[in-house]
Subunit: 346 residues, 4 copies
Amino acid sequence: MIKVGIAGATGYAGAEIVKLIAGHPAATLTAVTSRSYKGRSMGEIFPAMKNIVEIECEDMDIDNLCKRIDCIFLALPHKISMGYAPLFLENNVKVIDLSADFRFKNASAYEAAYQKHSAEKLLKKSVYGLSEIYRNEIKNTDLLGNPGCYPTSFLLPVLPLVKEKLIKTKNIISDSKSGVSGAGRSLSLATHFCEANESFKPYKVGNHRHQPEMEEILSIHAGKNIKITFVPHLLPLNRGMLSTIYASVCENVTSERIRQIYEQYYGRKKSFVRILPDGFFPDISNVRNSNFCDIGFNLDNDSGRLIIASAIDNLLKGAAGQAVQNMNIMFGLDERSGLINIQGAL
Amino acid sequence: MIKVGIAGATGYAGAEIVKLIAGHPAATLTAVTSRSYKGRSMGEIFPAMKNIVEIECEDMDIDNLCKRIDCIFLALPHKISMGYAPLFLENNVKVIDLSADFRFKNASAYEAAYQKHSAEKLLKKSVYGLSEIYRNEIKNTDLLGNPGCYPTSFLLPVLPLVKEKLIKTKNIISDSKSGVSGAGRSLSLATHFCEANESFKPYKVGNHRHQPEMEEILSIHAGKNIKITFVPHLLPLNRGMLSTIYASVCENVTSERIRQIYEQYYGRKKSFVRILPDGFFPDISNVRNSNFCDIGFNLDNDSGRLIIASAIDNLLKGAAGQAVQNMNIMFGLDERSGLINIQGAL
Amino acid sequence: MIKVGIAGATGYAGAEIVKLIAGHPAATLTAVTSRSYKGRSMGEIFPAMKNIVEIECEDMDIDNLCKRIDCIFLALPHKISMGYAPLFLENNVKVIDLSADFRFKNASAYEAAYQKHSAEKLLKKSVYGLSEIYRNEIKNTDLLGNPGCYPTSFLLPVLPLVKEKLIKTKNIISDSKSGVSGAGRSLSLATHFCEANESFKPYKVGNHRHQPEMEEILSIHAGKNIKITFVPHLLPLNRGMLSTIYASVCENVTSERIRQIYEQYYGRKKSFVRILPDGFFPDISNVRNSNFCDIGFNLDNDSGRLIIASAIDNLLKGAAGQAVQNMNIMFGLDERSGLINIQGAL
Amino acid sequence: MIKVGIAGATGYAGAEIVKLIAGHPAATLTAVTSRSYKGRSMGEIFPAMKNIVEIECEDMDIDNLCKRIDCIFLALPHKISMGYAPLFLENNVKVIDLSADFRFKNASAYEAAYQKHSAEKLLKKSVYGLSEIYRNEIKNTDLLGNPGCYPTSFLLPVLPLVKEKLIKTKNIISDSKSGVSGAGRSLSLATHFCEANESFKPYKVGNHRHQPEMEEILSIHAGKNIKITFVPHLLPLNRGMLSTIYASVCENVTSERIRQIYEQYYGRKKSFVRILPDGFFPDISNVRNSNFCDIGFNLDNDSGRLIIASAIDNLLKGAAGQAVQNMNIMFGLDERSGLINIQGAL
């Protein structure tokens, strides 16, 4: 059994990892940390977990923790993670970081969107945890930067098409919509029930921090600098994210060719990426509470205009689920281990 | 007082017109028709209207109706309207049709999207009821085709920019999201509560009937044939619609120039189209239960990429509200008459 | 025109009054105060009001205000109101207070539930603003304590039955459910979107401050001390409140007799209290955005068990709407003035 | 591995059983039937199940089915089940029926609420599947009538108190609220999104079919005829049910005594019934997607009035989850087998 610790276990993403590890057949939860809830059990903080997960929250004491864990999930705010990660690595504890701190190769891109990086040399070492794309690199790393939710929903459908040169790299648009849990558990007027309910709006148009993350990864695979257009919106629902993506196909690219490439990247039996049949499009409710990413597309041959829609659960494939999938890969387990009982519920 | 009749008063749009006319200072409701609810009062069918609107539903008896009304709102299914409209016109009753039957100039475009047209010659005579754009024509017509909800949310922000040649006519995209009331009051699995709630999805990708309507109007004003990309989505909320629109500006077009044009088209005091300040974007909850259309935009000068978002209440500015606004114009009343007390509520 | 001021205009109840007065045919809004938003216009703070209400928020300067208003609505926190009310009264400005400060006759009952009262002698003078019951007293007062939302939904159906001795005063139960706007606009984890959405729970069981308010009014009319059982619950919707009430009828009381009494109290044409026909029960969506209270009931003759359900919009009949209704009565206007265009929308 | 068949696998309850069995460590799904979807796979009908459950729907062919299964779940309409059950029993297939057909001991009570019973003698043999109460009987039966959702949420908290004579059997009230999935997957205006969303109302006041079911079970344990007051309401959320229950305690009964009895009935480690600490009340969101029943209570010593609230997921503990729990008991498995990974999600 892999001994697992979770830092920041009482945020939405942290709590999801707790639940996943609690039900995981090959991992066991040996430590959870929380500044706000020290000394209280998970079942007390989240009554939903009562009688299932009763582990108690503790302070972040690195030495003490490292004796008891093989792997740490850092579900901490940006900037905080980069301080802790090196300490765990020194103690031979594998690190899966859910913040943005280890997602970038290029420190200046990170610093433009976030702040000064204090562990810059680790960026070379860290692997971007888009599981289906970086599987081989993930196997061999002990430091993983888990992707953002928007980048996951965007890159899974777009990256193979860019890599295989099926679409033009100019004027790619992602019109993305996220459920409110993406904004986390801290209070704000925008996520106050009466303000978000029966409401819908774009936000951070042209300056969301996930945009440089998508652009860096895409640029690496294209071999050239790519700029995209990205507009996030807030949906009045708890969990789920859908990106509608617009691009132009390269000459002579057909719908069949696109399907073939998707099949090549994601077609393995029991894949978490499901390519829908022609004429079908994803629905957030079909991936809710699951680690799946559903992708549908439509190509208008006359105009060469390609429309793709992809849906994930922002807290699972967009955060905690993909993090556990990455843990499975890092420890040589079946990739779906512990992730398949959380079925897309009603 | 204008004597008003409403045909199809028990659908969502029809019932909204009933409520608007019931509160209108210069109009009075003298007849409502309904096939399904003949002989029952509005307050009985919609308990919300009890003690406010107690008029009884009757059959569609043209001769009888025409004696009692100056104006008829047809909130009937496509194809049905075109049969009735000529009969009302012959009796000097002004017709405001909420179906698609009189929105097109080009019968074959209508027929491609809908069915054979039986009153083709009336198409020349009928005026497209996008109030802010066709105000002068509306004043003088007695047959009005009230715009679809998606076209209203798309054309109000886009048409001035096309007309004034501020944006390129190629590759205009409308990523539109509508509340469930847009699908009407008839039952379907897609609008069953448990299927639509906590859900979000694109639908009719590439073949929604509102697309040719938008393209025809845009093409008329551009003086050339325009094709757009349009993807409608279903939002888990009752009423409201938001379109996020992507276009490329023509050379040397600045943000200030765009604002200037919007000001020119919509800047009159008390306009129903509100152009938001720089950095602000519309929210469906700000136009709910109102006849307003809110528009915000962002221009990326480097790429020339323009992002516009526009929000309306699909049942009001997208249907019943704009229909009443058009009645006001047709009868020479203040355009806001009866439309300003339905304020965007919490 | 009545010149109206609103103190605390940027909370949910305050903002509703702003909208109602803005659309009122016999009142005009001459001043709004807000500590947090001083110097900003209502349309700027609430974009929904843009182009409708552009009045600017000012500080609470009593002398200055009193010159410009005939009537002040105090939509302020408990305790704050009791400090201001006397100052307005001294200046011959009528006071409609939406806090609990002037709802009680008995200072000690108020103090047990809230805090020390600083204007105790005004309690004798102030009138409890349950419009349909205290109409005559309201006509002649210049200080009104506007009822709480739960008390309104409970007292309207129960008070006539207690007064006319149709039900036993022991073991009356109110199982009440409120939309989230009842909790106001200040942030809390319980009203965070992801916590309240798809959720439902009782709260403050046995210790909600509205309980002594209901008990005092009921006791006054019964001529004896009455204790009730009251359990409030939080509904995952923006606005609306429904109370399901259980009581035992006195001997020989029939369903017809109950209906007769309701008719006597509320049967006037155009009443805001609508008694539903046998077999019908209220639905929150039928009173949403309206000032109505809908009441339905069922009497089981074998057991003598009476079940009543009553529904209101908590922000309108439960706060701002009833406050404006009371202003209408205090100033001798038609009771429905300015309140009938806010129709129960879809 | 237990070989499991599910009849009526495409309704909401049936589909939940499919998902539970698909993730069950000691059971395997060998057949699913559906009249409407014959020949189509579960993953095709419910895209959420794609890549997880791909079994194909077949016709109800008893002989063929019985060769392949040890146990059948009947998720069929009332009346249909009673025709099939005897046929499975003859073939030594254990039957877990989710309809009302085998919940009653007294055929005439069943017939008063439903219709003529065609397998009346099986009623003696069948066991009422309230798992925590009838555990011993369930172990030894091969015909189980799975409880209704309302009865489960009512009987779990009330039955122990009645049995141990802690509360009076007169005037017990259950004010119950259910999510919309309780109404099933068939279409109706009441469950149309725009009608149910932002809405709340009582329904079937005084004549819901679950009332005689609760009364029969309660009467059996009380040794006398008990009548209750039951009012169901429709909540605007997908899944979850909460009952607020009012009763009077017998003389000298204390809060401690009630807790002691609950401890005795439900206190085993890993119980699915969780008794909350003093001052805490259940929230539907804490039991969502889980098989738990959460119970909180408050006793007012002065009046002897007891308030209890209990929450379940209507599709799990209220239907599919309890059915699988019963299967576990019938086959001698750990009662929580396959039921603990479906954790109450956000």
